[in-house]
């Protein structure tokens, strides 16, 4: 299959935008979080300063660390970067998109999760093991709920490919889908859990008893840590883009209209800005859950996603 230059350009642009804008999204959310909590906000560019500082430093690893420990940051970063390349955020005409549908995308996130958990256990410290166990607990509950939420969209469009979903949703006549209301609530809960956000985990603390994501990366330093931080920004970016693709797919360029990419980039940034503000708002108004309440929280997501599928069956829409 011959790839058109526009498609190639769209793919390249999407990678670059994801890599460049992901820390910006994190900075934007942190800024709003601080403002909403009456704190002085860090600079919007703070994540870039942190990355710059970490890349300058000398990497140190524990003596007992194996190859797995050293390789994990690159694997995780690779997974998240390719996830960002697959989700149609700017254009649906992506040469890489046919490589992975929604199910493979969930698998990609799972691969990163397995590696980061193994690496956290690799050194043998107590916190790493604790974080890895909690991460797997959250992951195994969040994954089916995420799949069910994606399947709600798949049932409507008869395809598990994200580009096909966006094409169908954005460019056919506007219709209200009740099943997507269920999928939307479920997806929001899952994204909060998967991205270590407040009801499930607090990204801003290193409190031993509650941390999950921070416990996993506790042993990392310098460029390894920088890559992992960047990867978690990319993960948030990818999840935001999946959410936008499923629920607000308007403004994404199509294969036959490459000039629409001029609109789709500002549209994407605007949607992400609004989404980031909403995330900061959710994080501000909700209290962190006990870790043993998290299965309950995720069960709600799973049940809602399943009901979404059932409602689709009942109403045929």
């Amino acid at each position: 299959m011959l790839v058109s230059p526009y498609a190639f350009l769209a793919q390249l642009l999407q990678f670059l935008v994801a890599l460049a804008a992901a820390p910006l999204l994190t900075g934007w959310i942190n800024q709003w979080r601080a403002w909403l909590q009456n704190k002085t906000a860090p600079s919007l560019l703070q994540p870039y300063y942190v990355l710059h500082k970490l890349f300058q430093k000398e990497a140190v690893a524990a003596e007992s660390a194996s190859m797995l420990f050293r390789a994990t940051p690159y694997i995780v970063f690779g997974c998240m970067a390719s996830a960002c390349g697959i989700v149609p955020a700017l254009s649906t005409d992506l040469p890489l998109a046919p490589v992975a549908d929604a199910i493979a995308l969930v698998g990609l996130f799972a691969l990163a999760r397995v590696f980061i958990s193994l690496a956290a256990m690799d050194v043998g410290t107590a916190f790493g093991t604790l974080g890895a166990r909690r991460e797997m607990l959250i992951g195994f509950l969040a994954e089916p709920a995420l799949l069910m939420a994606l399947f709600s969209a798949s049932l409507i469009t008869n395809s598990t490919s994200l580009t096909a979903i966006v094409n169908k949703m954005a460019h056919s006549q506007f219709q209200l889908y009740p099943s997507m209301a269920f999928a939307g609530v479920a997806f929001t809960i899952v994204s909060l859990a998967e991205n270590a956000r407040v009801p499930v985990d607090n990204p801003a603390t290193h409190l031993e008893l509650t941390m999950v994501h921070e416990a996993l990366i506790l042993e990392y330093s310098a460029r390894h840590l920088a890559l992992l931080e960047w990867a978690s920004s990319l993960k948030l970016f990818a999840y935001s883009c999946i959410g936008l693709a499923l629920f607000f797919p308007y403004g994404v360029a199509q294969a036959d209209a490459p000039q629409a990419m001029l609109i789709s980039l500002p549209a994407l940034l605007l949607k992400l800005a609004v989404g980031g503000f909403a995330l900061a708002l959710i994080e501000t108004v909700s209290a962190k859950l006990r870790i043993f309440r998290v299965p309950e929280f995720l069960a709600v997501a799973f049940v809602l996603a399943v009901i979404g599928l059932l409602v689709h069956g009942l109403l045929g829409a």
Partner: protein
């Protein structure tokens, strides 16, 4: 526009079901009252929508009555009741939420299957949502069964009445006004009696836990 409003009925129905599930998992009494108010508002919106689409003007009246009773009066009374019982910020321990939720899915499947042949006989524009309305009724019923405290039980009862109201709208484009008013007043009376009852329970047992009523005492 008409097509969009027709789809909006399904959306309102879906919102009612989401709210029913939210009520099952909600521990805080204050939040339960808020959810109940939201349920009432959704119901009013759905009734207005059906009334507009079928050009039945008595539906506007019934929506207005529902608004007055279910969005203004009952939440106000509930707020006052929780204030006076001093259970406003109470947190109720729930029995195994994931299992309750899974039973909820079974109820939804059951209701959907039960409603589909009935809906096929109906000529109403909202007939597809009959299954959702039935599922909400069953879920509210389950909430009444699983809760131990008196106030959540009363809220469960009122939310069941809301779902019944929606079921009537979905199946027949609204009940006759007289029946509707009768049911609404019944619900109000049940609520008032329930309120008196709650004060009695608390005076007897120093708690609103109705499990105290299950024990027999020899005196």
């Amino acid at each position: 526009m008409i097509a969009l409003l027709t789809q909006a009925i399904n959306l309102f129905a879906a919102m009612l079901l989401i709210l029913a599930f939210a009520m099952i998992t909600q521990r805080r009494i204050l939040n339960l009252v808020h959810l109940f108010t939201a349920q009432g508002l959704t119901l009013v919106a759905a009734t207005l929508d059906v009334g507009y689409l079928t050009a039945q003007h008595q539906m506007y009246l019934s929506a207005a009555a529902a608004f007055a009773l279910k969005v203004v009066v009952l939440p106000f009374l509930l707020h006052r009741l929780t204030d006076r019982l001093q259970v406003r910020f109470d947190v109720e321990p729930l029995w195994n939420t994931p299992v309750t939720m899974l039973v909820g899915i079974l109820l939804v499947v059951f209701a959907f299957n039960l409603a589909s042949p009935i809906a096929a006989l109906s000529a109403s524009i909202a007939r597809a949502t009959l299954g959702i309305a039935l599922a909400s009724v069953l879920l509210s019923f389950m909430m009444m069964i699983t809760r131990a405290k008196a106030v959540p039980q009363v809220i469960g009862f009122l939310s069941m009445e809301n779902s019944l109201f929606f079921a009537a709208t979905a199946a027949t484009n609204g009940m006759p006004m007289l029946v509707e008013l009768g049911i609404a007043l019944d619900a109000l009376m049940a609520f008032l009696i329930g309120g008196v009852f709650m004060f009695q329970i608390r005076e007897q047992f120093d708690s609103l836990d109705i499990r105290h009523l299950e024990r027999l005492r020899e005196e």
